[in-house]
Symmetry: C2
Subunit: 211 residues, 2 copies
Amino acid sequence: MVKQVRAARTRQALIVAAAESFADEGYAQASLPAISKRAGVSAGALHFHFASKDELAREVERAAVNSVAELAERCRFTAATSLQSLIHATTSLLLAVTRDPVVRAGFQLSGDPSRKNGAEMVRWWQQQVRDLVVEARDAGELADDVSAEAATMVIVAATVGFEALGTVDRDYLSAERMSEFWTFILPRLAASPASVPASAANGALAEGHLE
Amino acid sequence: MVKQVRAARTRQALIVAAAESFADEGYAQASLPAISKRAGVSAGALHFHFASKDELAREVERAAVNSVAELAERCRFTAATSLQSLIHATTSLLLAVTRDPVVRAGFQLSGDPSRKNGAEMVRWWQQQVRDLVVEARDAGELADDVSAEAATMVIVAATVGFEALGTVDRDYLSAERMSEFWTFILPRLAASPASVPASAANGALAEGHLE
């Protein structure tokens, strides 16, 4: 039992160390010896858990998706409407990018030219946003002249853009920026000002759903 | 004279070959021998023009900025308003990303973790968008409740997001997608529907300014 706990911890330390290395140096440059050193485990322990760098990267991508899926699920339960759930999910996502090296690496691997087929995270996020937008539309929360397709595209492009800009300027990954984004977008997106209070974006923060 | 022309051509071929290699394999993985081979020139010719991979990358970044600056300048001359100029510039940019390997590489180097300090292109683009938004505001083209800061942020994040998503799904880099984006954004951004016709985004395409 103690042995199993230790193995799980080692595995988790390796995933975090790999995520940090991929995000810092890029997939191609990150070496397995440097990753095991960063995790404080032996090369043998790394090879016991992961047969290759590709397997380690796939595990980082999977862990990143799981982590954000959990956040999104929590947002869905605490939000009163689908639009609010969407606001909470996008803000949680960007805060997770700043705080969680695994989530950050999940996104960065999507755009890393040295990591082929690493777009799992971005594809998953696109689907997640589309589902919430369609829910919002079906609940009558969207303005009549806004298509679910267009709304999905704008929200996905902006969040992926925030994440990419965050590597250049950390300020893009703040809750304030996300709040400004939603303050700009909501009057165009929502069926009526009443259906989503103007303070929805700020409210999401104040209510503490994003921690 | 013939010699100078040949030298300029070799230099240009090396910049394009380097751009393609950086975008395909990432900065770290792109090798100087592979770049000179791709350009069809000798290793000696590469070293005559560029002392290092870093110098080659800086030249790619500079060429990408120059290329897009020229496009943006052309948009400014052919557009009737600052908002139209902004619409044309964003659409031109994304078409250039699909067509010109140097512009594509300029953006990709910004997000490549193996290329440090490669964010020149993104910073330049941010400034370009801000200048046009401020011009539009000063000309009374923006809605009263939209700040230049918020508008700049949304447009920069979305265009950078489109570029990043384009590596996963080419469809994001089409003029149609940009047109959908502007159709969504304009009613929120513009001072009045009259100041920017609803067809502005499509109009930009129809008028052929983006070729």
